[in-house]
Subunit: 194 residues, 2 copies
């Protein structure tokens, strides 16, 4: 399964988020791993690539990010709709079996220790927390510098998403509210409008 | 044309951005209006609704936002692909005819003075700048509080997007790079997976 996971050059990493997908944020600290869904994630810079994620104070994942200073932002796919909804609605604090019951399977990347990556996603970004206490406290806004990026080469290759030629199951999810998502749709190129 | 523009309750305003579309940011100061495309825009809070946008230092729109303290974030549609690409690639600083040549037609909203809104979009949010000089200077990151929100009721009604039943021309654009966008795709509801 992991044989399709290919490194993405950091200069192209921000493209993994440009289309505005809902993401999964995962982190680990002292034996505890967690994963949550985050609808509010956004690229912030190209070089070095940075991103923002909004992490509510009630979440365990936020604690793990603050304690460890490192987290993963990954892009879930259509078959992970249930998983994405579940990890966004259950809390590890009240529900110790959250990950297993949500269908999450974790894996590790060489050189990133216990940092948990979610299997079945289309792209992964390992992010070092850039500590900004005012933003974190006032706005729940966290800034990460992307220090490693990977994608499944069946949908992202040569620095580009290939949703239009890949199996539709690889499309990203864009959460709205109340369990409703939109999948990424058709490709449109400037100068080639219908 | 504007007869379809309906107010969106502020409690639902963040939904206008949840699916992660590319947006147009517009602002006005002392007789000068401008519009730019912003790929990096994100909801930040529900109540009061807030959002983040990344505005590069070289842009005229950023100057207007800093000078006036108010801006509009609006969601362009498929027929505005050329417009979106053009206002993202031309600068008013070197190209005084940018707006006309990009096909931008502006309108105003009662109570918002000269604040420029772009015709043909699917949704509009008037945002008061929350001044955060460190974020603005270090990260080009601007925070706005949404003080007014409207949508075209042919695609957003009763607090929900209706991309699945509206004309496909109403779909949002999700910019990747090099003139390529993805349109918003099919609706998927948790519990109703195929």
């Amino acid at each position: 399964m992991t044989s399709h996971i290919s490194p993405v050059p950091l200069a192209k990493a921000s493209r993994l988020l440009h289309h505005g997908p809902t993401v999964l944020v995962s982190a680990h600290h002292e034996g505890v791993s967690n994963v949550m869904a985050v609808g509010w994630a956004c690229a912030l810079d190209f070089a070095p690539p940075k991103l923002t994620v909004v992490l509510d104070k009630i979440t365990k994942t936020r604690q793990l990010v603050e304690q460890s200073g490192i987290f993963v932002v990954q892009v879930p796919t259509v078959p992970q709709l249930r998983l994405t909804h579940e990890v966004g609605n259950r809390s590890l604090i009240s529900d110790p079996d959250k990950l297993a019951e949500s269908g999450v399977e974790l894996f590790h990347m060489d050189g990133y220790g216990d940092l948990p990556f979610v299997q079945g996603c289309s792209a992964w970004m390992a992010c070092k927390l850039i500590s900004e206490p005012h933003n974190q406290q006032t706005y729940d806004l966290f800034i990460g510098e992307v220090v490693g990026a990977w994608a499944d080469d069946r949908v992202f290759k040569d620095g580009h998403w290939h949703f239009e030629s890949a199996d539709p199951a690889w499309r990203s999810l864009h959460y709205i509210a109340g369990g409703q998502f939109y999948a990424t749709g058709e490709s449109m190129v400037y100068g080639e409008e219908p």
